[in-house]
Symmetry: C2
Subunit: 158 residues, 2 copies
């Protein structure tokens, strides 16, 4: 497993935004991100889990420095897609485990999450791809999180 994980990255300038209970039907995601694209606000992670009762939450992360600008748009975007509301929270951080073939390595996710669990760090959001496992955590815990993951995967800290 160790060879599969190559590096741990982190980002502290992160805020999370969630549009609550958006209708789960075609066109909604496009309607939300259109305005943010037009406003020139960089969206980092986009995350949507399965719906219940025809609605789901649609979350994304942005630089905390863009949060004031994003906040000015959130009311109208929420109304536009007929969602129930939104939350926008500063003070989080992104920790990313970078590797190859993370998918297809049974146990690697458990090892990543166990490292954070052992450090008592709560994982607020998770999104993965073939190469990245991204966790959103509280910003005060980011150094511990990076240290815990370096230790778990026996990586030298740079």
């Amino acid at each position: 497993i160790r060879q599969k994980v190559r590096a741990i990255a982190h980002e502290t300038d992160v805020a999370k935004v969630t549009i609550l209970r958006v209708p789960d039907k075609p066109g909604i995601a496009a309607s939300i991100f259109g305005p943010f694209g037009d406003a020139g606000i960089d969206i980092d992670i986009v995350l949507q889990n399965v719906s219940h009762d025809g609605t789901t939450d649609l979350s994304f992360t942005i630089a905390e420095s863009h949060l004031p600008k994003a906040r000015r748009m959130l009311g109208s975007v929420t109304r536009k897609v007929q969602a129930q509301g939104y939350t926008a929270t500063a003070g989080v951080a992104k920790v990313t485990v970078i590797g190859s073939g993370l998918r297809g390595t049974p146990g690697i996710y458990a090892k990543i999450f166990q490292a954070l669990a052992d450090a008592g760090i709560n994982i607020q959001m998770i999104a993965t791809s073939e190469i990245h496992v991204t966790c959103i955590i509280d910003r005060p815990r980011v150094r511990e999180a990076v240290r815990a993951l370096h230790a778990a995967f026996e990586l030298e800290r740079i």
Copy 2:
């Protein structure tokens, strides 16, 4: 924007699993994926959005061929973490937009989601990283989805 997107990948051997209303506290994600790792079940995407009332859903995708084996474990895993239940659904597919610098290109997410919206395809789950935008959709729509994304980003279909 076009240069940023390099390819569209898809996977049809996909089932989605959701552990419902897991307690949002340290150690829960590790407790869920430990057993699947031990059972040798490859987990592809892991997705978790923000919690409400102290709980959230934790979803993941696996090969549909592994669904029977996964199902045999889901009851005990659900009880172990004191979640409310689980769902396991075959017949979905994964469509992945691959590029560089997807983050930091305002409007690129809107363009991806608009292409699927214009084809009337509902996006069931979304997870992104710097290089991948992953959407889970109904399997019967996968060819249309890939075609729509190729067209939107003017990529030659191989």
